[in-house]
Each structure stands twice: as structure tokens, then as C-alpha cells.
């Protein structure tokens, strides 16, 4: 698997490079799919300095799922970004894929940490060096700083805890550490557990650590943002499952699970209100990613089979939806050069494909019934009700209702209303390299909406691997829970049938009462004549009145990023003296800091 890495170094010519990129990713996907069909064990260990370091790799079924998500996202992403990237970009991207694969198949701490770091650094390089922000002033230096600082903190936390675990168990194997974590009750297991958890929360962008997400997503290359949202944000979930899932299922860990569930709910609320506030497309989607990921954590905290199924369904869905939406947004940005809602508008009849794509995306994102997004939510809600966590349920209903507003803002701001800065006469449909993967994604979202049961089979494999009960599967078209069931197939058909009947009825009326096609500006506007200059597009203002709601206003007004930056600046003042020791540029000093910190962590770990 890791061999796929090597390919990219060979590419010198542009087309070859692109082809190689796609082929290697396709190869990776193929290999992973092969693993499903014929479960050969390719666990292997690699002894470096025998007796001291042993790297062991084995791909669990969970790792396989995440690897598949990553590989498919990477494949689609490579297709979508055909021909627009330089060589360095490809190198870094594949390096990151490699890191991801190492991480997902890691069996011991060192390979886990190694994969984690390779992934983090290469993704940092990617979005920092190949940023999509054209204007150098627009590009904020803070984003990169924030990202790398938080990543470093998380890495250090993780390193410290891992060494602590090594010291306790005397084994580099993750499984042993996990077993130790779950074996020990009380404070000794909580503190490292919480520290480790914050590292993972950081990667997935949960509440106190979400600040790096919006800026990074906004500035990353457009298609890479899709990958970030669809695949990289899932790494935190993988790590969480790896270390904590059995933990949250333990007897007596109810408070911790409840806490995680609430962290999820609060993150979702904050992120949703922030998303409504955003004026640019990628910023909105970034915050929505945070919110959607938070549901997954809430569901995992519940811990029942249904909830785990819901979490996995939601996760897969989220990957599909975010790939779709980011691809289309990337296509629109490429065609129009505009990124903000107050610059776009009125493109619906010029970009029908993108419109339908975004429509499918937002219906699924908002969790509306005929499409797949609903069923993940349905499983989460039902599991919450079965568990009796009604207040948590209320906590996640609030953001998922508020999510309708940003979903509407997304589609209205781009496609509906009146055009603002983009002349729709000149607008063209997004290019085919975005259209093909978007089409595939749309089809899979609709398919999952029709047959939500399709996902249950793989989910059941994972559940049995975790030692949990499997979910009942009666037919492909329906989902079942102890307290009720829902048939996606029926919902889709009934809705479609009713829709068709009414459309026919309306067309029958149409003969007697024809619809007159009106000019764009011929609108009921209190007798006034709007002109081209009249600001009729509501793209920026849409959702602003949410701010007047007390709770939303309180959330939107505060900015954690600013607080962090303030703390950072104060710290920076103190560290000014320390920095005197390190001559040279920032990167060198960063690396040296890291090395030093690693040494400190090692020391702490060995002593403790």
C-alpha cells in the first residue's frame, strides 16, 4: 500500500503526472477493495534495530473503512483537479496519502505517531504553499500559524500520553495501551485519556479546538479542501474509535460519554450559527463540516449499535456530501472567480447541473428525508431516544434545524435571486472534470437514500469486530431499530409519485391558464421599478436576523480564534527571550522546538 507513494517522484511531465496520480490512487482503492473481497491478512512487522523498535502494521476493518473513504476521496479529488497542480503539490499530496495509510494501518505507537505527523506536515505544506487565496493580503498569516501551533500542541499531547502508556505497559503495541487505559479505573486513566482525546478532537475540529478549521478550509486549494473535509477530518474519528470506543462502552464511564455527547452538541450549535454568519462559500461549508462531525462524536458517545451505525452512516454521508459540494463550489469559483455570496447569484438557469448538485447536497446535508442524509440522523436520533438522553437530543435538534438556514443560504446565494457581480449571460456550466465526480457522488447519495440498508452490511461487519450486536437488516430499502423502522425506498417512491401526479395536474391547468414568463426584474415590488442597480440579491444579509436571537447572537459575537490569538500573542511576548537561542528562520526554529519538546515529552514519559 505504501508503495503507492513511490510513484509520484517519477512524474516529470504534466500529463504523466496527473495520470500517475490517478492510477496510483485507483490502485490503492483497488487494493483496498480487494481486501474486502478476499480478506488476506497482510499484517507485517518491520524490525529496526532489533529489540528496540518494532513497527507493526495491520489494517483492521475500521482502518479499512477509513482508508477506503480516503482513497476514494483522493481518487475523485485527483480527477477533479486534473491539470491544475504543480509537481510539488502532487508530491505532497501523495506523501500525505502515505502518511494517512501508515496511520490507519498502524499497530504501534511509533508508526501511529509517524503517520500522524507525516499527514499533518504535508497537509500544512499543501495548504500553505498552494493556497487558493490569490490576494497575498487576503491570505492570513494567522491561519497557518494557528494550524501548526494547534497541531504541535496536539502532537505533543499525544506523544506525552503515548510515552506514558509505553512506560506503564512496557509495550509499544496500541492494543496493549488501549487495554491498559480501559483496565484502570479512576483518575490515572482519565487524565491521559482526556489529553489524548483533546488531540483527536483537535484533528476533527471539535469545540474548543475548532479554530483552525475555517481558515484552513478557506485557504486550501479548492479541491484539496474537499479532501480535507471528506477524509482528513475523519482521522480524529478513527483515532477516537481506536482508543476510546470500548472505553465509552465501559460500565461506569457514563459521565465521560455524556460529556462527549454534549461537547458534540455544543460544537454543532456553535458551528451552525457561525456557518449561517459566513459570507463566503467555503467558509460556510467549513463550519458546516465542524457541525456535521460533531454529530458523529455525539453518536459515538451514545455507544449503542444503532448509534454506532448512525455515526458511521453519517460519516460516510458527510464525505460524499462534502466532496460533492466542495467540487461544485470549486467549479463555480473556477468559472466565475468569485467566492462570496454577495458576488454571486442568479446562476440557476446557466448552471443547471451545479444547481441540481448543490440541491442534492443541501438536501442531504440538512438531513431531509428522500436523500441519504436523513437516515444517519434518524439512527442517531432514535438511538438517543432509546438511550433516554433527551436533553442531548434537544441539543442536536437545535443545530440541525438551524442548519436549514445555511443550506438555504448556500443555494440561494449562488443560484437564486438576482445576479450581482457575475453576468449570467457569460457564466458557463462547471467544467467536466468537476462534473463527472459530482455526478457519481450525486448518484451515490440518491442510491443511499433509496436503499439506506446498503450501508448496514459493512456496518454490521464493523460492529461485530467491535464486539457489538449487529443491526437487523430486513431489506435493502429500510432501516430498523428496536423502537421503529423507516423505509427509504417507500419514502422516495411516495414522494416521487405524489410529485409526478401533482406536476401532471398542474400541467393540465396549464392549458387553461398558461404561465407567462416574466422578465427577471418584473417582480412584485410595491409598485416600484427595480433597476439593475437596485440591490435585490439577499445573499449576504440572509441569516443575519438569526443574530438577533439571543442565543445565536451570543455565539456569533464571540470568537474563540481571537481569544487564542490574544493568548498566543502574550505567550509570544514571553517566548521572545527564549527564541533568542534559536538563530535562523521560523521553520528551523519550529522544527527545533518540536525536537526539544519531543525530548521533554520522552523524558516525562520515561520518568513517569
Amino acid at each position: 500500500m505504501v508503495s503507492a507513494l513511490a510513484v509520484f517522484f517519477l512524474g516529470t511531465h504534466k500529463i504523466i503526472r496527473e495520470l500517475l496520480s490517478i492510477v496510483s490512487l485507483a490502485l490503492l482503492t483497488g487494493l483496498l477493495l480487494m481486501r474486502i473481497v478476499s480478506p488476506v491478512s497482510d499484517d507485517f512487522t518491520w524490525q529496526y534495530m532489533p529489540g528496540f523498535f518494532t513497527l507493526s502494521f495491520s489494517l483492521s476493518s475500521f482502518g479499512l473503512l477509513f482508508a477506503l473513504i480516503a482513497a476514494i476521496s483522493g481518487l475523485l479529488k485527483s480527477f477533479a483537479s486534473w491539470g491544475i497542480n504543480s509537481k510539488g503539490y502532487h508530491a505532497l499530496f501523495h506523501l500525505m496519502m502515505g502518511g494517512l495509510m501508515i496511520l490507519l494501518s498502524a499497530g504501534d505507537y511509533i508508526s501511529f505517531f509517524l503517520g500522524w505527523e507525516i499527514m499533518t506536515w504535508s497537509s500544512f505544506m499543501l495548504f500553505n504553499n498552494f493556497s487558493s487565496a490569490d490576494d497575498p493580503i487576503e491570505k492570513s498569516q494567522d491561519t497557518g500559524f494557528l494550524f501548526i501551533t494547534l497541531s504541535l500542541i496536539s502532537a505533543l499531547l499525544m506523544l506525552g500520553v503515548l510515552f506514558f502508556l509505553y512506560n506503564r505497559t512496557g509495550s509499544m503495541n496500541i492494543a496493549d495501551g488501549v487495554a491498559w487505559l480501559h483496565g484502570v479505573k479512576g483518575l490515572p486513566s482519565w487524565i491521559p485519556g482526556l489529553l489524548l482525546m483533546s488531540a483527536f478532537f483537535l484533528k476533527s475540529g471539535l469545540l474548543p479546538f475548532h479554530v483552525w478549521v475555517p481558515g484552513t478550509y478557506r485557504e486550501a486549494p479548492h479541491t484539496f479542501t474537499a479532501f480535507l473535509s471528506a477524509a482528513l477530518s475523519k482521522v480524529g474519528i478513527y483515532a477516537f474509535i481506536l482508543f476510546f470506543l470500548p472505553f465509552s462502552l465501559n460500565e461506569g464511564s457514563g459521565q465521560i460519554s455524556y460529556l462527549i455527547a454534549w461537547i458534540g452538541a455544543i460544537t454543532a450549535t456553535v458551528a451552525t450559527f457561525k456557518a449561517i454568519e459566513q459570507n463566503d462559500m467555503k467558509g460556510l461549508l467549513a463550519y458546516s463540516s465542524i457541525g456535521q462531525m460533531a454529530y458523529v462524536f455525539t453518536a459515538m458517545a451514545v455507544g449503542s449499535s444503532l448509534a454506532m451505525g448512525g455515526a458511521l452512516f453519517q460519516m460516510v454521508n458527510h464525505s460524499l456530501i462534502k466532496l460533492l459540494l466542495f467540487f461544485i463550489v470549486a467549479g463555480i469559483i473556477e468559472r466565475t472567480g468569485k467566492t462570496r455570496f454577495d458576488q454571486l447569484g442568479g446562476l440557476i438557469y446557466k448552471m443547471p447541473f451545479s444547481f441540481i448538485g448543490v440541491l442534492v447536497g443541501i438536501i442531504a446535508l440538512a438531513g431531509m428525508p428522500p436523500l441519504s442524509g436523513f437516515y444517519g440522523k434518524w439512527m442517531i436520533y432514535t438511538s438517543l431516544i432509546e438511550k433516554g438522553w433527551l436533553l442531548v437530543l434537544t441539543g442536536i435538534v437545535l443545530p440541525s434545524t438551524a442548519a436549514f438556514i445555511y443550506c438555504y443560504k448556500l443555494i440561494y446565494g449562488i443560484f437564486l435571486g438576482h445576479p450581482t457581480e457575475v453576468n449570467p449571460e457569460e457564466a458557463k456550466e462547471i467544467s467536466p472534470r468537476y462534473r463527472v465526480p459530482s455526478g457519481l457522488l450525486m448518484a451515490s447519495i440518491v442510491l443511499l437514500g433509496l436503499f439506506p440498508g446498503l450501508i448496514l452490511k459493512p456496518v454490521n461487519v464493523l460492529l461485530s469486530d467491535l464486539g457489538m450486536e449487529t443491526l437487523a437488516l430486513t431489506s435493502q430499502g429500510s432501516l430498523n431499530a428496536a423502537s421503529g423502522s423507516v423505509s427509504g425506498f417507500m419514502v422516495m417512491n411516495v414522494f416521487g409519485g405524489v410529485f409526478a401526479v401533482i406536476l401532471i395536474l398542474l400541467s393540465l391547468f396549464g392549458k387553461k391558464a398558461p404561465t407567462r414568463n416574466l422578465h427577471r426584474l418584473d417582480i412584485a415590488y410595491a409598485g416600484e421599478l427595480p433597476t439593475e442597480q437596485t440591490p435585490l440579491h439577499y445573499g449576504r444579509g440572509l441569516g443575519h436576523e438569526v443574530k438577533r436571537v439571543a442565543i445565536a447572537g451570543a455565539i456569533v459575537k464571540r470568537s474563540l480564534t481571537e481569544k487564542y490569538m490574544k493568548i498566543g500573542n502574550q505567550l509570544g511576548g514571553i517566548l521572545e527571550h527564549v527564541r533568542g537561542f534559536y538563530p535562523g528562520n521560523g521553520q528551523v526554529s519550529l522544527i527545533m522546538t518540536m525536537v526539544g519538546a519531543a525530548a521533554v515529552a520522552l523524558l516525562i514519559g520515561l520518568k513517569g
Binding site: P514, R516, N517, L518, H519, L521, D522, G527, E528, L529
Partner: protein
């Protein structure tokens, strides 16, 4: 439907062909449900609230207010029309959906009324819009306004309230008359283009 009165029943008996019955029924529904857009152009605006509230209660005749021209059946122009207002009124009228009717209240829309020598009000509304019913008076009281609605209902039932059709057929004439007032500041083409063609439909 108990509110079919004697006159309606008598009319219904005279009809011969089934199509005539359908037309009659459609007209009956149109007449029984009138969504009114009260355009308060002048002093008559104050006569509309008593007409629709407790004292005179226009709703018992099926007359109720509409918020936007798209939903309205009848536009009630209450009083004098300044040139500037007329432009908005024409625009509002053209935004309404056929069949649509115009009721003009007071003397001013008929002959200029007490503003006959004003430099800025029009003197005769039906040069510019097809008025179906005029209610004379300065101002007409709510009874007279209701009387106007009754007259309109009769016209609708007889199938004669076809001001909209008249406007469409004689659009050149109306537009020329409007042009006399507005000069080169006519309404832009998109507000009335469909009158000069078939208009798209699907």
C-alpha cells in the same frame, strides 16, 4: 350553496349548452371571491377601512384584501392620481393576473374632480387604464363603495367585466395615451412586452 340568489338561479335556468353552464359557474366563482388590492392614491383611501371592517363588512360579499398584485383580482383606486402615482398604478395593474378589474372611486379619476386644474394629476383615468366600475362622489361613502362592488359582481356574472381583455386588445391606444403623460420616461419594455406578443408559456 345557499348563497345562490334568485337572480342567479333565474340566469342559470336560461342557459342552454353545457359550456355555457361551465362559463356561468366560473363567473359565479369569480364573482363570489374578489381579492381586492386597495391602492390608496388619494383621499378615498380612508373610505376603504370602514368598508372592510365591522360597520360595512365587505367580507360577507366575498371581498377581501390581497397583499400583492399577483394575488389580487381587483385594484381599487381611491381618489386622484398624480402622474407619479399613475406610473406605479399602471405597473401594479400590469402585474395582476387576468381576469382583473379596476374600480375607481371618486370624481377625480372620472374628470379630475376638484383637481381639474392641477398641473400634476391626471384628469380621466380610463384613458390610461380600463376602468370597469367608477363610483362617483367626493368622496363616495362606504355604502357607495359596496354598491360599486355589487355592480362589478353583476358585470362579472354577465361576463362583461373584460377590462383586461380590452387593455390587451387596445394596448397601442393605451400606451400612446400613457406616453402623452410620461413623455420619454415611459415604463421600461419588460413590464409590458408580453402585450405586444403572445408571451411565453409552458
Amino acid at each position: 350553496m345557499d348563497n345562490l340568489n334568485k337572480k342567479d338561479k333565474a340566469q342559470l335556468k336560461e342557459l342552454k349548452s353545457p359550456m355555457a353552464v361551465v362559463d356561468w359557474a366560473v363567473n359565479w366563482f369569480r364573482k363570489q371571491s374578489i381579492f381586492m388590492l386597495a391602492y390608496g392614491t388619494g383621499c378615498g383611501a380612508i373610505e376603504i377601512p370602514p368598508t372592510v371592517t365591522a360597520r360595512y363588512d365587505a367580507e360577507r360579499f366575498g371581498v377581501r384584501g390581497a397583499a400583492t398584485p399577483r394575488q389580487a383580482d381587483v385594484i381599487v383606486l381611491s381618489g386622484y392620481l398624480a402622474v407619479k402615482t399613475l406610473k406605479r398604478v399602471i405597473r401594479t395593474y400590469e402585474q395582476m393576473q387576468e381576469p382583473k378589474y379596476v374600480i375607481a372611486l371618486g370624481s377625480c379619476p372620472i374628470n379630475g374632480g376638484m383637481y381639474w386644474d392641477s398641473y400634476n394629476t391626471i384628469k380621466q383615468l380610463d384613458r390610461y387604464l380600463p376602468v370597469d366600475v367608477t363610483v362617483a362622489g367626493c368622496m363616495p361613502r362606504p355604502e357607495a363603495v359596496l354598491e360599486g362592488f355589487m355592480a362589478l359582481k353583476d358585470k362579472i356574472q354577465r361576463g362583461e367585466a373584460e377590462g383586461a381583455r380590452d387593455y390587451r386588445d387596445n394596448i397601442e391606444k393605451y400606451k400612446n395615451n400613457q406616453k402623452e403623460i410620461f413623455g420619454d420616461k415611459m415604463l421600461p419594455g419588460y413590464t409590458c412586452d408580453w402585450y405586444f406578443s403572445d408571451g411565453g408559456s409552458f
